[in-house]
Each structure stands twice: as C-alpha cells, then as structure tokens.
Symmetry: D2
Subunit: 144 residues, 4 copies
Amino acid sequence: MTSSSDFPVLWPVPTRWADNDHYGHVNNVAYYAYFDTAVNAWLMSATGTDIRDLGAIGIVAETSCVYHRELSFPDLLDVGISIERLGNRSISYALAIFRRGEDGHQLAATGRFVHVYVDATSRTPVPIPDAIRAAAQALVPDPS
Amino acid sequence: MTSSSDFPVLWPVPTRWADNDHYGHVNNVAYYAYFDTAVNAWLMSATGTDIRDLGAIGIVAETSCVYHRELSFPDLLDVGISIERLGNRSISYALAIFRRGEDGHQLAATGRFVHVYVDATSRTPVPIPDAIRAAAQALVPDPS
Amino acid sequence: MTSSSDFPVLWPVPTRWADNDHYGHVNNVAYYAYFDTAVNAWLMSATGTDIRDLGAIGIVAETSCVYHRELSFPDLLDVGISIERLGNRSISYALAIFRRGEDGHQLAATGRFVHVYVDATSRTPVPIPDAIRAAAQALVPDPS
Amino acid sequence: MTSSSDFPVLWPVPTRWADNDHYGHVNNVAYYAYFDTAVNAWLMSATGTDIRDLGAIGIVAETSCVYHRELSFPDLLDVGISIERLGNRSISYALAIFRRGEDGHQLAATGRFVHVYVDATSRTPVPIPDAIRAAAQALVPDPS
C-alpha cells in the first residue's frame, strides 16, 4: 500500500473551486495539473534556478494516473515525488496524491510522469542538464 | 437587447466537459477562456499570421463579464466579436457569448476585453502592428 | 494605491505550472480562478459549513479584473477580499491579487466579483443564507 | 502505426488559447481534457440522453497518455474513440488525438481512459446502464 512516507518529497498543492466538475468531485484531468505543478515547482526549488531558461527543457513524453479516492474542493493535497528511473536523457517519476485528512494522509491517486530533455530551440533530445541531474539524483532510491 | 446580428464576427467555441463546475453549470471563469480563445483565433485567422511571432504582442489589460444565462456542457457557443475602440496602442473589444439553441442564438453573457500592445521582449507599450490594425479596422463600426 | 493592508482577508493561492500561457506569464483567465477559489474557500472557512449544500447558492452575476503586473509560475499569491456591498440577495466583493515578493506584497490585479443567491433547485433569487450573511458582515467596512 | 481510420468515431475538439503553456505548445494536461470531452460528448450524442442524469454515472478509474507530437493553438483536433474492453461495470477506451494537417490527420497522442459505473448517490459500483451499453457495443471491434 502506497504511503506518504514512501516519498522523499511531498509537495503541497491546494485544490481550486473549478477543479470540481459536474459530479461534485475533482475532475480526472486536474490530477495531472497537480502532478505537473508539483514536479516543476520541486525542480525549480531544488535546483534554485528557473528551469525554463536552461538550454534544455523537459518535455512530457508519457503520463498515467490510477484514481483511488474522490477529492473535492477545498481539499488540501500533497503530491509525493520519487524517481523510478534517471536515464541519460529522461527522468521517470513515480508520483502519488495524498489528501490531508484529520487522521493523516489519505491516498487519492498514483501516477507516472516522464520528462524527456530536448534542446530548447531545436526540440531534439539532449542529455539532462547538470543542475537537474544533481537534484534528481537525490530522489533516486538507494539500491541497497 | 444584445443580439448575435450586432456582431460582425461570430467565433465558434464548443464547451468542454470540465467547464462545468460543482453546480452543474459552466464555471464563471470559463467564459473568459471563450473570450480569450475567440479573440486570438479570429486575429490569427483575419491577419493570416501567427500573431505570437510579431515584434509586438497584445497583453490583456482589462476584462469584464456580465452573466445572463447558465450554460452547460455540451452546449455549442458562438462568441460575438466587435471593436468598441481602436486606439494607437490598444484595442477594446465588446464581446458576447451566445448559446446555439433550437430557436437560434440565446444570449449568455456580455463582456469587454482590452489588449494593450507591447514590445515582445521589453514588454513596454508600442503601436499596434500594421497587420493587426488592418484586421481590427474592419470591425470598427461605421460612424455614419 | 491599493495595498494588502486595505483587505480584511488575504487568502493564499499558489500558481500552477499551466497557468502560464504562450507568452510566459500567467494567462488573464487564471486570475478569475484565483478570485473564485479565494472567495469560496474563505466563505467555507468563515461559515464552517459546506456552502454548496445550503438551500441557497451563490451564482456569479458579474466579474471584472484590471491587470497591473505580470505574474509567472511559481509565484505565490494572496487574494485580498473585502465586501463593497452586502445586499439582500447579493454580495459584491472588491478583490485584489498580490504577489509575495522579497520586499512584501506587490499588487498584480484588482477586481470585482458579484454573487447573487438563488434557490439551489429552482435557481430563482432568494435572500442570502444567514450563515453567509453573518460571515460577510464581518468584511463590510465600518461606516465611521 | 495508429491511424485515424482505426477509430470508429472521430470527435472534433478545437484547441484553446490557454492550452498552450510556457513552452509555446499544448500542455500535457490539456490532452486529458480532450479525451474527457470527446468520450462524454460522444456518449451523450450516441445515447441521445444526458448521461449525468442517469442513476449510474461513469467515474474515471484510470487514464494514460503517450505524447507523440507537439500541438499548438489554434490547431484543430479530432479525438479517435474506440473501445478495447466492454465489461459488466466498466468500459475501457483506446483513444488517440489527431491534428488536422494540410495532408490529413497527424497522430499527436495515444491514450487509455477507463470509466467504472457507480450508483450516482452511493457511488458504489453497479452495472453499466442499458443506454450506455448499447452505444458502447457499437464501438467494440468485431472479433472476426
């Protein structure tokens, strides 16, 4: 069972009013906005740089989400961030969304998010920038 | 009473599932996405150019909306576009949103949308680019 | 000049990655998502109730925004909330958006947001529910 | 190679201005809004009913997307819809996004989208409503 203690980073993302859809719960699309926001905000914070101005940028190649629990505004969420594969040109994140409940974190969703690094101008694949690799390395699980 | 025949341009914008909010109607914020999309799509079509690549870009300085009727996915909409003031450095649009009903257009909202043109790099105000001025001129009401 | 000290409530709303548009700044539409989220979250907090389950709900009748400063993810924002008119069936909010800068709050936008209360089922206008009126009263400026 | 002719339904979804993010292309999250909108709009059209008012509603249990090509406003898109598994209580859709190019459809993304049907009130799993099953049956590939 996925737990918030499995993640080296938990990034706070509050819900917004319009995240709720016709069925009175957070729309499935919004979960990806939480993923996207958490990964990029963490990258900016961990590298101390505006990653959008680097010569190479991370383009999203693949995403997925399994929904475990309904959410509803004004829920406060934490996105669990870990890295399952740090390649030469890509980073594959294992993510989860936790709702802050009265008795602690409640698992709401698990997902994957893959960034492929490309030259900011030509958009052809290139190695991961050093600043990003260093930050990502800290989230790679110890093999021992 | 505002009618769709008052507008020289009607730009189609279909609703999306997640435009509906907790109350089962289109969220107030989405109306501004319809405005934004219609004005920029019309500008691109009327000028035959990617306006985002011009030396001067239109930055939104002011917007407003009065809501007259509830909308709900999968409503099909047309955004009425007219120009109430074509200045040296700014364009003020008078907009409306019409729902395509069985008996014709139903007024759902009226609004204003003001673009101020700025240098794409320095973001300081500059004159409206010629291509955009020419397109906009065609929407300025005949003073007669 | 509008200052954050002019507002009895400041509600935190962080930006999201996708709030930024093609021009590398927060899209004009997102400001309304900040307004919408702040007003409703404050109402839920101040009343201690899920306002969506009351017999009368607040429908947005009118909104507007004047944009003073560009914003960009990952900016942290506070939405200033005050009430300029507390009517029998409607509440008119005067709002502002402040960016948390190194030297304190920077004004990014000012706006208006009008809720009209309607019966949750029939959607016809009704008086403001007592719980909401009591919360709103606390934000009405002292006439002295 | 996935082709638009592989899909029994192609549902049109135009891009919106704010779908583009900081990198000047459609944000990864928006692709899920295209999926969500196309599946639900098709369901409403094919059943001739407002599926949100049925006793059982489709809740999203799982989604995924592989991104093959960058998109940018004002691209016009068609979402390919097919059904890979029609179960007792769930429907698994195989989806794709095609850009309308000058030389025909260009594949932009492929994805999966799983609806589980639940009682609209209790939110516990129930069989797929008859009207939806009949519509879905028409999209199940012929086993021959």
